[in-house]
C-alpha cells in the first residue's frame, strides 16, 4: 500500500497542543460527497458555539469554500501571499459576515498546485494555531499531492462518506492512509446524503452497514436535503439557522459532538404521524 511520507516536522503539532487548538481535515477520497459543504457548515456551527474557528480552503485546483460561505467578493490576499511572505496572516483571513468567530483562509490561484507542499501547510497551521480554537481544512478529492498537503496540517480527521459503494471503498482507502501516517489523534466518520426511504427499502446502505464495513467511529449523519443546494446558491450555510432543515440541525449536532457534548445520533428512519407512518415506525424500531 502506498504510504504517506511520515511527518517530517512536528512543530505544528507542538503549536496546536500548546495553544489548545484542534486542526481537523475533512477528506473523502471520492469527489463530490460533501466535504466543502460540511466544512462551511461546521465552521459556522462551531463559531456559533463560541469557538474561534478558521476554515482553510486546501482545494487549490477547484476552490469553492469562499462561495459556499458567501465570502467570494471579500478576498484580497490568500494563503499564497501568506506563505510567500508578501502579506501578514491577518491580512489574508476573511471574517464571516454574520459569525464574527469564523474566518476563512482562502486558496490562492491554481498555480499553487505546482509549488505548495506539506511543509507549507504545516507552517500555515503553526501560524493559525495561535489565534484559533479550531482549524478545519477542506481537502480536495483524491489521494494525491493535494490530499497529502491538506492532511499534513491536521491532527484529527473527519472522513466524509455517502452511503454508496464507490464512496465507501474510497473512504476505506483514505482511512488506511490516514492511520498508516500515525499522526492522527482521532479519525471519525460523517455519513452524508442519506435517504431514509431508500434505506428502509434496503436499496441504500444503512448507517450500520457503512460502520460495519469501515470500522471508523461515527460522528454524525446528514440526510439528503434540498435545502443544502438552496443555501449554497445563496452563500448562506444552513448552520446559520435561517431556515429550519434536517441537515442544518445535523450540522449543529455534529459541532456539539466535536466540542465533546454527548448528543445522541437520532435514528434517521423514525418519523411518526398517521397509521401507515406509525406502522412504518414500528417496523423500523431498532431491535439490535
Amino acid at each position: 500500500m502506498a504510504q504517506l511520507p511520515s511527518s517530517d516536522s512536528t512543530a505544528h503539532i507542538d503549536a496546536l497542543k500548546s495553544h489548545n487548538c484542534r486542526s481537523i481535515v475533512l477528506c473523502s477520497g471520492k469527489g463530490g460527497v460533501g466535504k466543502t459543504t460540511l466544512t462551511a457548515n461546521l465552521g459556522i456551527a462551531l463559531a456559533k458555539l463560541g469557538h474561534k474557528t478558521c476554515v482553510v480552503d486546501a482545494d487549490y485546483g477547484l476552490r469553492n469554500l469562499d462561495l459556499l460561505l458567501g465570502l467570494e467578493s471579500r478576498i484580497v490576499f490568500t494563503a499564497q501571499e501568506v506563505i510567500s511572505g508578501s502579506c501578514r496572516l491577518g491580512q489574508a483571513l476573511v471574517k464571516h459576515k454574520h459569525e464574527m468567530n469564523l474566518m476563512l483562509m482562502p486558496a490562492g490561484n491554481p498555480r499553487m498546485l505546482d509549488w505548495f507542499n506539506p511543509e507549507h501547510m504545516r507552517n500555515l497551521v503553526t501560524m493559525l494555531a495561535e489565534s484559533f480554537d479550531f482549524i478545519l481544512i477542506d481537502a480536495p478529492a483524491g489521494v494525491e499531492d493535494g490530499f497529502k498537503n491538506a492532511v499534513a496540517g491536521a491532527n484529527e480527521a473527519i472522513l466524509v462518506v455517502n452511503p454508496e459503494i464507490s464512496s465507501v471503498r474510497d473512504a476505506d482507502r483514505v482511512a488506511g492512509l490516514l492511520s498508516s501516517q500515525g499522526t492522527f489523534d482521532l479519525i471519525q466518520l460523517v455519513v452524508n446524503r442519506v435517504r431514509p426511504r431508500m434505506v428502509e427499502k434496503l436499496d441504500m446502505l444503512s448507517i450500520d452497514d457503512v460502520l460495519d464495513i469501515l470500522a471508523v467511529p461515527l460522528l454524525g449523519v446528514v440526510q439528503e436535503d434540498e435545502q443544502v443546494i438552496i443555501s449554497s446558491n445563496l452563500g448562506e450555510p444552513l448552520a446559520l439557522g435561517k431556515q429550519n432543515s434536517p441537515a442544518g440541525v445535523a450540522y449543529g449536532n455534529i459541532a456539539r459532538r466535536i466540542q465533546g457534548e454527548d448528543v445522541p445520533i437520532p435514528d434517521i428512519n423514525a418519523q411518526p404521524a398517521g397509521f401507515m407512518d406509525r406502522l412504518g415506525d414500528f417496523l423500523s424500531t431498532k431491535i439490535i
Binding site: 476505506d172 428502509e200 444503512s206 431498532k286 431491535i287
Partner: protein
Amino acid sequence: MSIMELLKRLTGNRNTSANSACSRLRMVLAHDRSDLSPAILDQMRLEIMEVVSKYLELDHTGSELSLETEDRSTALVASLPIRRVRKVAR
C-alpha cells in the same frame, strides 16, 4: 437493525441492492486492504496446493483461496476439497 429489516432478511429478501453492495464491498475491500493482485493470489493458491498435495490428494478444480474481511482485519481463507488422504512414508 430495525424490525422491517429483520422481516426482510427473514423472508429471504436478501437480493436487495443494499445487500449486494455490502457483499461486493467486503470482497473488494479485502483485496484493497491486502494489496494482493488476483494473479499473486492464484500463484499462492498453486503453491499452497503443491505443499498440501504431498499429504493429501486434492480436488484441483474445487480449490479456492480468498480474502475475507471483518472490521479492519483481513484473513486469508483456503478451501481445499480433499479426495483422499495419502499414506505418507515417514
